[in-house]
């Protein structure tokens, strides 16, 4: 059963307890200065974005078909069947293609370390695997961040919108965006306001469309190049053979003349 996080911005009170819980779980420092940072970084894997009196949690969306996992040349990033997109730092070579590819700008790098890692929210994969909710959901005092089965959370989100259509924009962000995400968002104002605008097509199909043709290109190209070589060199062989023949004929003629 695939797990998800449902974040309902209309219930959020910007207490930032999710930020604190996340920092604790990931053994990262957390103080007032860090709490004031309105961006994700290698030391802050989630934050509550403030736009006037509106809030929006930002964290790794843990996509159903993640661009980061698809581009990673060493499969350090993986989508697990439970939902979390995990990162195995022992495989990572530090090419940072995941950072380039992520449509949400989530993976962050430890730029100041000599042996850096990529850092991102992994939806508390260890806790989720043990049947527990994510640290942020557990810490949330208002139920703005809720953890559960994806299907049930989608049903609940639809239900909330149906019951109070004036309170919400009629959209569950993450239901279809980039092929669906394991983090679902509800808001009273358009998601654009928080810089959330992504196509519905899963991005990995854009590259896989090309990559999946490679075996065909190699086999076709191999036959084609081999064929061209065979033809061009056959011509040379024929020319050489004809030249020998002509020479032999000429010699015979000369012999005949001598006789």
């Amino acid at each position: 059963m695939s797990k998800s996080i449902l974040y309902d911005a209309t219930v959020c009170i910007d207490c930032k307890l999710c930020e604190r819980a996340c920092a604790e779980r990931n053994k990262l420092p957390y103080d007032d200065n860090i709490a004031a940072e309105q961006m994700m970084s290698a030391h802050k894997l989630t934050f509550v974005m403030t736009k006037g009196d509106k809030f929006m949690r930002r964290l790794c969306m843990n996509c159903q078909d993640p661009a980061c996992a698809s581009v990673c040349p060493v499969a350090a990033l993986r989508k697990t069947s439970l939902g979390p997109v995990t990162y195995d730092e022992s495989r990572c070579i530090g090419c940072r293609y995941c950072m380039l590819a992520c449509p949400f700008g989530i993976p962050k790098y430890e730029w100041n370390k000599v042996l850096p890692r990529v850092r991102k929210c992994d939806m508390c994969s260890d806790r989720v695997a043990a049947g527990r909710p994510t640290a942020c959901a557990e810490a949330c005092p208002t139920g703005a961040t809720k953890f559960g089965n994806r299907d049930e959370l989608i049903a609940e989100a639809n239900d909330r919108i149906a019951k109070a259509p004036n309170q919400y924009v009629n959209h569950i962000y993450g239901l279809e965006e980039v092929g669906g995400t394991s983090v679902l968002l509800l808001s009273s104002v358009p998601f654009d306001l928080f810089g959330l605008h992504t196509p519905t097509e899963p991005l990995p199909t854009l590259t896989y469309r090309v990559l999946s043709r490679l075996p065909d290109i190699v086999s076709l190209g191999g036959v084609l190049l081999g064929g061209v070589w065979w033809i061009t060199h056959r011509r040379a062989e024929v020319a050489a053979a004809e030249a020998t023949e002509r020479r032999a004929k000429k010699e015979r003629n000369e012999e005949d003349e001598e006789k």
Binding site: C72, A75, R91, C92, I93, K113, V218, W229
Partner: protein, 397 residues
């Protein structure tokens, strides 16, 4: 003992290498944050945009020329195969060297070979580059074998050369185009003047153009530097092929911009548009015009000028894809730090230096006066004269 004469360009090279050495120390003791202007919002910079993307592109002469000679049986191009294979081998070696700087964990560069992800373009590029560098070293091997008079090894290499060349062409086709495919995953981030589903096709065709232009460029440079014979009639026919390849590229690029409705971005001049125009007008349309003129095409100076414009044009193209086109969406302007420039500069210097040494000690160029006529001595345009100085020690030594 007399001290070697220190020419201006030699001094520049030494300064660049010293700066590069210091930058290397900074890179490996302080990390990427202190030694580059890269950030979370702009994770790929000069080392990927120039050293890797342009490095691979500039090495494309290797597969273009070996295909022409070995597969298409265009024997007359054989004399220029060796220098292009050498350039290609050097180019790929430098790409790997640059990656050792750019990767956060360079000592794990071998990971993609054992930890697979066939869905990743980068994985495919890693495999292709590894295999193709091996192929290039085997294609280059006879030059070493000849020097060491290893007859048996030469025979073995000769027996496998055709499959080797075919493999090399296939691998090059794959990864030259795949460097473009890398950017297919960022439709929202790369500016519409450069993002296109045809990126892999553009990268492949432009690699062929650059392969041809690079061959013209280095044949000319070598003839100036080493006094080796310049095969002018050969280079003129390369110029003819080049102008056709450029025209195909230009038409396809225009069609693509038109069909995607991206031409509207050209209505207003600005950062992206300006750099697009540099790429397309100076690096594509101008060399096409030059090469179409018989009078220009058939002089060494004109041919050389067109080739240099093509090289600069496509270098701009790669930098536009990797840097210019990615800036607006990141909300940042990226300009490399001095350390990044110093290391890239050192790579270029190292490339020139190794090529010079190889040309001096290995049988790269055909013996002068073996066939044809010596040409290209009459014209001496100023840009060449300056670069020529860089090579002067090779000639004098």
């Amino acid at each position: 003992m007399k001290l070697p004469k220190l020419s201006f360009w030699k001094a520049v090279m030494v300064v660049v290498l010293l700066a590069g050495a210091y930058a290397t120390v900074l890179r490996f003791t302080r990390g990427l944050g202190a030694s580059t202007n890269l950030t979370d919002r702009f994770p790929w910079g000069l080392w990927i945009g120039f050293d890797v993307m342009c490095g691979v592109m500039l090495a494309a002469g290797g597969f273009t020329l070996t295909a022409a000679v070995y597969i298409f049986n265009l024997e007359r191009f054989r004399p220029i195969v060796r220098p292009t294979v050498l350039t290609a081998f050097l180019g790929y070696s430098l790409v790997v060297a640059a990656l050792m700087f750019d990767l956060g964990r360079p000592y794990r560069i071998w990971h993609p070979l054992v930890m697979w992800n066939p869905h990743s373009v980068m994985f495919e590029v890693a495999w292709c580059v590894t295999l193709y560098t091996s192929v290039l070293s085997l294609e280059f091997a006879p030059i070493i074998f000849e020097r060491l008079r290893m007859e048996k090894a030469l025979q073995i290499q000769h027996a496998i050369v055709i499959p080797l060349v075919i493999l090399g062409v296939l691998l090059s086709t794959l990864h030259q185009s795949s460097l473009g495919s890398l950017y297919l995953i960022v439709p929202e981030k790369l500016h519409p003047l450069w993002y296109s589903p045809l990126l892999p096709v553009f990268f492949f065709i432009s690699a062929i153009c650059v392969g041809l232009a690079m061959t013209i460029f280095e044949s000319y440079m070598s003839s100036k530097a080493f006094g080796k014979q310049l095969e002018l009639p050969l280079l003129i026919s390369l110029g003819r092929v080049l102008v056709v390849a450029l025209a195909v590229y230009a038409v396809l690029r225009f069609q693509d911009l038109y069909h995607r409705g991206a031409l509207q971005y050209l209505r207003h001049l600005g950062y992206e548009t300006d750099l697009f125009l540099v790429e397309v007008v100076l690096g594509l349309l101008l060399p096409i015009a030059l090469l179409l003129s018989r009078r220009i095409r058939e002089t060494t100076g004109g041919l050389y000028l067109a080739a240099v414009l093509v090289l600069l044009g496509f270098v701009t193209n790669r930098l536009n894809v990797a840097v210019t086109g990615m800036e607006a969406s990141s909300g940042l302007r990226y300009f490399p730090k001095w350390t990044e420039l110093a290391i890239t500069g050192s790579m270029i210097v190292a490339g020139f230096a190794v090529f010079t040494l190889a040309a001096k000690y290995l049988p790269i160029f055909p013996e002068a006066g073996a066939s044809g006529t010596r040409t290209g001595q009459g014209t001496h345009p100023s840009p060449v004269a300056r670069v020529d100085l860089a090579f002067s020690h090779a000639r004098k030594a």
